[in-house]
């Protein structure tokens, strides 16, 4: 291990920014908090991107590790204990100071803080708590803070961080327990799911308390968690979603009080997210998305991020980076994820045991429509909102607009264009006043021919493509909507 004393702030920022960059989550969304008049900062529900890096990813938060020293040996991580890399550690003052200076200049929305595990999980978590406390109390910082929970750290520390952060996340790392065992031997489903459950329950109780207008927090104390969390997520490759039964009795954890009254608005008010590495182990898309679905349903997660595996350590027994194919897969997962969150789809409608992987030629929504031609075409002037949402080329916003506009006038194809419907895709699936735009014979093959991803077509012509432009979906905002994915493979928690 290379430890270097007396690194300059510039050098530290370089090392610890570099080490954090593989973490996908960068959003600053999920919570609206106006300024208080005497503190520094506010947050916007939609989030704000302050810049876009050379890879086209949004830069919203100062994303850094507290330290890249680590006692763990996760196979996919550049910072694992035995690697020979330059190590650096921020002091809480340095990390908090940088955040403030960048924030005042409108470079960032706030801080994204992760850490290697060093010297112990508790010590790592405490240093992060110290940083966040400095920001909230000393600097009266009211901007956005996202903190990674450290697996295996004392629940009390996690809880205090939760009182000061806007969002927390615990990385699931691998979709299955088996994958985790083989690639992250020092982590377990239990050490990952325990804080995830704790945060979920904490958020719930805090909201309830707020609703009942009790003083924030509940009579606090010990962190009590069920010790058989593993059962709640599929533990082997034979993933059966129905196993993800109902976990956690409501009283398995009682949220304690914040030690000090801060400027935040409750316990993890922007909710929690997680991240999975895709393609390092052999899961199918169906297995991955089933895990996702249960994370949304059983753990109330706000976001699940996917990151295509990059073999940063060049391990010969690990799959190599195969670029495009992996990015394409990751892209499909994000699209499907979007359908789960905003389009009322269930994964069982998109994939099954017999068709366990996404169609690489069609996006999941088109694919669904093409395989369910019996449901189409639908009449724009009559179909209910839910049905409209299922039409390729119609997003959440355009569906809402259609419902509104048709109350005032009978809609025809040119109107749909104005409303923002992507006619190119929608025409095969809709009628206006009983008529289709072109006489197209509805058959799975012919429609597929028309719909093949623009990206695929362009790829064939050798063009470089922006991810954003081929997203089918209305994006609520750049910061909170679909993000161009990033390669995984490093980072900390």
């Amino acid at each position: 291990m290379v430890v270097q004393e007396g690194l300059s702030l510039e050098r530290k920022l370089e090392i610890l920014g570099d080490a954090a960059k593989y973490d996908v989550a960068c959003t600053s969304s999920g919570v609206d908090r106006s300024g208080t008049g005497n503190s520094m900062g506010n947050t916007l529900k939609c989030g704000i991107c302050h810049s876009f890096a050379a890879d086209g990813r949004c830069i919203s938060l100062l994303k850094i590790l507290m330290t890249n020293e680590c006692i763990f040996q996760c196979k996919y991580c550049i910072n694992r204990a035995k690697n020979d890399v330059l190590r650096a550690t921020f002091t809480p003052e340095e990390a908090a100071g940088l955040t403030m200076e960048f924030y005042r200049r409108n470079y960032i929305e706030g801080l994204f803080l992760s850490s290697g595990i060093y010297p112990t999980p508790d010590a790592a978590a405490e240093r992060m708590l110290e940083t966040v406390a400095l920001l909230r109390f000393q600097y009266r910082f009211a901007g956005y803070i996202h903190v990674k929970a450290i697996p295996g750290a004392d629940g009390q520390i996690t809880e205090q961080i939760g009182w000061l952060a806007d969002r927390m996340s615990v990385n699931l790392e691998l979709p299955t327990a088996e994958g985790l065992r083989s690639l992250a031997p020092n982590k377990s489903r239990k050490t990952i799911l325990t804080p995830m459950r704790q945060i979920q329950l904490g958020i719930k109780q805090n909201r309830q308390a707020a609703r009942e207008a009790l003083p924030s927090g509940m009579p606090g104390g010990r962190v009590l968690l069920p010790d058989r969390q593993e059962e709640f997520l599929p533990s082997s490759l034979e993933c059966r979603p129905e196993q993800l039964g109902d976990l956690a009795e409501e009283n398995s954890y009682t949220l304690g009080k914040p030690l000090l009254k801060g400027v935040t608005s409750g316990f993890v008010p922007a909710g929690q997210s997680t991240q999975m590495i895709i393609g390092a182990t052999g899961e199918t898309d169906y297995q991955i998305m089933s895990v996702t679905e249960s994370l949304y349903q059983k753990f109330d997660l706000k976001r699940v991020f996917y990151s295509a595996f990059v073999n940063v350590n060049q391990d010969s027994d690990m799959p190599n980076w195969i670029g495009r194919t992996q990015l394409d897969r990751e892209h499909r997962l994000y699209q499907a994820d979007f359908l789960l969150r905003y389009y009322q789809f269930q994964i069982g409608e998109l994939l099954s045991e017999d068709r366990p992987n996404f169609n690489m030629l069609l996006d999941p929504k088109c694919d669904y429509a093409v395989r369910h031609l019996e449901l189409f075409p639908v009449e724009i002037n009559r179909a209910d909102y839910h049905t409209l949402l299922r039409v390729p080329g119609i997003g959440v916003k355009s569906a809402q607009r259609i419902v509104k506009a048709r109350r005032m006038a009978v809609l025809d194809f040119p109107d749909l264009k104005k409303i923002g419907v992507v006619l190119k895709r929608a025409v095969y699936f809709i009628t206006c006043q009983g008529k289709m735009m072109y006489p197209v014979k509805l058959s799975e093959d012919s429609i597929t021919g028309y719909l093949i991803d623009e990206r695929k077509q362009k790829e064939l012509k050798g063009e470089q493509i922006g991810y954003q432009q081929l997203s089918l979906f209305d994006l609520p905002s750049m910061a909170s909507g679909y993000q161009p994915p990033v390669a995984g493979g490093g980072g900390a928690q």
Partner: protein, 267 residues
């Protein structure tokens, strides 16, 4: 209906809320027939049209206020907001769009906001959307520098008059700072005083050119901080996934003039 016996009357309005609404007021007062009148921006370049007569509209606060009040009464607050926003936009056709939107609005009342298939209603919304997009972009991409005395200064070159919408955002965010955002395009400054609110000042550059130059000075400490930001900006990109086209699509080049990460202090 267009009355072909009358020449088309074109009202040339000043590019301001007051100017445009005064135009609307005069159009109504004239009883010349809506189909025989068009509203243009006076500053806009246009080809002289045959068989048209051109009238210059002198902005008048009283007429403009009357229109605002009547919108509020007869069409509603949402429509009023939309009209104001459209007037601050940078779209060349905004005056006539506002006029036609109001004609329809007066006919149907508050339901006008749902008439999305009407070309003028949808165009007005499009104009508002563009304005808010630009406002949002400046919330993202505006950069402050900190001057020796602690004053935060930013220079922007927006297409639309965004300051009106930007200032509340930054005032809420940075209540304990003194800051100035200078809109170079429209020579307008938004000035915020620590815990005392903000105001807009016009013609700062014309009247005090030395001062606007000062807003762009970079102190030594500031340069160091900017270097740190550049380091972070360079580091955060994943090289395997470089995608300049996507970057440009999300962060168009014309926003980059005043963004520190796209310029080095050493040049």
């Amino acid at each position: 209906m267009r009355d072909e016996t009358k020449p088309m009357r074109i009202l040339l309005c000043e590019d301001s809320l007051e100017g445009i609404l005064t135009g609307v007021y005069e159009a109504y007062q004239s009883r010349y027939g809506h189909d025989n009148i068009k509203l243009y921006l006076a500053a806009r370049e246009y080809e002289l049209e045959l068989f048209s007569e051109y009238h210059k509209v002198r902005p008048d606060a009283e007429s403009s206020n009357k229109v605002l009040l009547s919108i509020l009464e007869k069409i509603g607050d949402t429509a009023r907001k939309n009209v104001v926003e459209a007037a601050y936009s940078a779209e060349p056709d905004k005056a006539d769009v506002i006029y036609r939107y109001l004609i329809r609005g007066y006919a149907v009342g508050s339901r006008i906001v749902d008439y999305l298939s009407d070309p003028y209603v949808s165009r007005l919304f499009e104009i508002c959307r563009r304005l808010w997009n630009e406002v949002h972009r400046w919330k993202e991409f505006l950069r402050f520098q900190i001057q020796e005395n602690g004053l935060l200064t930013a220079v922007i070159e927006p297409k639309a008059r965004v300051l009106t919408f930007l200032m509340p955002h930054f005032a809420d965010r940075l209540p304990i700072e003194n800051f100035i955002i200078y809109d170079k395009t429209h020579d307008q400054a938004g000035i915020h005083r620590k815990q005392q609110g903000w105001f807009l000042a016009d013609r700062l550059g014309r009247d005090y050119p030395e001062y606007t130059a000062l807003l762009e000075t970079t102190t030594k400490e500031e340069a160091q901080m900017q270097d740190l930001w550049r380091i972070f900006f360079e580091t955060i990109a994943v090289r395997e996934r470089e995608n300049a086209r996507l970057q440009t699509q999300l962060l168009p080049k014309w926003y980059r003039d005043h963004m520190v990460e796209f310029h080095s202090n050493k040049e």
